[in-house]
Symmetry: C2
Subunit: 337 residues, 2 copies
Amino acid sequence: MAAQGYFELNNRPSIIAWTSVVGPKEGQGPLAKYFDEVLSDDTMGLPSYEKTESAMMRKAARMALDKAGLAEEDISVMLGGDLLNQIIGSGYAAREMKIPFLGLYGACSTMAESLLIGSLILSGGYGQYALCMTSSHFSSAERQYRFPLEHGNQRPPSGQWTVTGSGATVLTTNPGLKGPVIESVTLGAISDKGIKDVNNMGAAMAPAAAETITNHLIGSGMTPADYDHIITGDLGRVGSDILLDLLAVNGVDIQDRHFDCGCEIYGDMKGIKAGGSGCGCSAVVLNGYFIPKLARGELTRILFVATGALMSPTSSQQGESIPGIAHAVSIAKEGMQ
Amino acid sequence: MAAQGYFELNNRPSIIAWTSVVGPKEGQGPLAKYFDEVLSDDTMGLPSYEKTESAMMRKAARMALDKAGLAEEDISVMLGGDLLNQIIGSGYAAREMKIPFLGLYGACSTMAESLLIGSLILSGGYGQYALCMTSSHFSSAERQYRFPLEHGNQRPPSGQWTVTGSGATVLTTNPGLKGPVIESVTLGAISDKGIKDVNNMGAAMAPAAAETITNHLIGSGMTPADYDHIITGDLGRVGSDILLDLLAVNGVDIQDRHFDCGCEIYGDMKGIKAGGSGCGCSAVVLNGYFIPKLARGELTRILFVATGALMSPTSSQQGESIPGIAHAVSIAKEGMQ
């Protein structure tokens, strides 16, 4: 059945490498052991948090190429973005690599956006390898979006904590290489229900997630039971509750298989409030926790739905509400081509 | 011959609608008569320049759908970005339209980036109609990147003037619809030769343009003589001279057919210095001036090379140089499928 934004891939890309680099705080959470690298210093010895974020992304990208056994010139396209103004995290990471670069801005939906554009391009027969990536850094985000760190501001219960982390994924349509496969994608449209509270982004993004998940199920003809997990990016505890309620209205029940990366990455750590957020949140959980499980055959199929809030400090100051967006990527274990 | 980033399209999308909306100043330049609409008021009666930019983009997008005779639900994907932090011009424009949205950030290369991603997706068999768009606004850019307008700052001879304008293009692979065709694209990698002067962005972007044009000619096996015009986005007078010199080193001579949108949009207007800039600059010249000429068969083939400077005020304050990028799109008149 036709559903807006849904595309089944004719030539399904395989995921042949995946990396996750996180900061010290994320290295103390319940998922710590799944990440490839935990930084001991959240500055990496660099003089600014923006330079650190870019270096972290470069590290994740280079590790992904190494794992895949590929050189920069093998990669047809690098797709990336981040939360920093003018996506300087990604831009300066890409500067160090001679790979054609497509800059994206999908806020915290960027990992899904990069995977879906990369998959559509490769699947169409254009290029053989794509490097998809994103990052966020607590300290660069905090000072750009909220207050100087020195301000020591408090946050309300619905507030979220930006994850310091970067994830990178290498896709290929080279038929000789195997790995988990991207089966289908659903591109999301913007949904804005009028939320203006920048400390409640989960509520702003939940309606977009509900729409995209519903469209994906209609388009693919699948039911939640076909997925081991339906994974949202960073709705956090407030947004996750809203998502389940909104889906119930659509007659969709995912409660027993819903996993929100923002709810899980810090567990019950003190001061985190409603959970983690940031592009890096879903990127490191996907690349650190889920893709390896698919690669080992411990999971059969997941739906990865990263959500983004497309406001800026300027739009918020001008009284605008927060537009939410969600893109979905369906990933199955090797051999499901 | 293989060249990095070059892709010939198997299923060539046709351009079936194109629109350009510009501000009052652009409406006094030598290309004024080619634009679909010249705004009489650069605020459009709205309370902020950011809201104006978004409204201008929405206007260009809606006009494009009207010209194409399509409804929002006919469009498979909308691809857009702009210069504002978190691309709020595009995000809030997309919010008003129920179309799957892919947010991009390529600075002033965005019109080419949106066309090439849209072309690759459609050509691969995914969706039938894509809406590609971008915008810039002098006053929203000036206060975000430089100084408050009230400051009345002067600019050096190499400085450029951000164009107020938005361009939108509708692509389709529906075989029943005809128009100029996108034949091939070349994705650019970042090039950074160490320029740090934000008042000399032409110099920062010229090396990327030279690389992408050279790669495109190698990949396509074409020579400059195969193109009526090789069009750069907004190198301005300083960057254009550098581009011609750099290409000469590669043995490529485009002098007699080079057209820089930034050099032409204001002509010799007082105070403009080295030319126009901004995502909107090449977007309105492409959609206002060149695509109609291709549609009427007055031109046979153009190479559209939009260039971007991927720095931010923060990266400049931190002493970073300016990474340049350029993406190329080869467009031929109808019937060249």
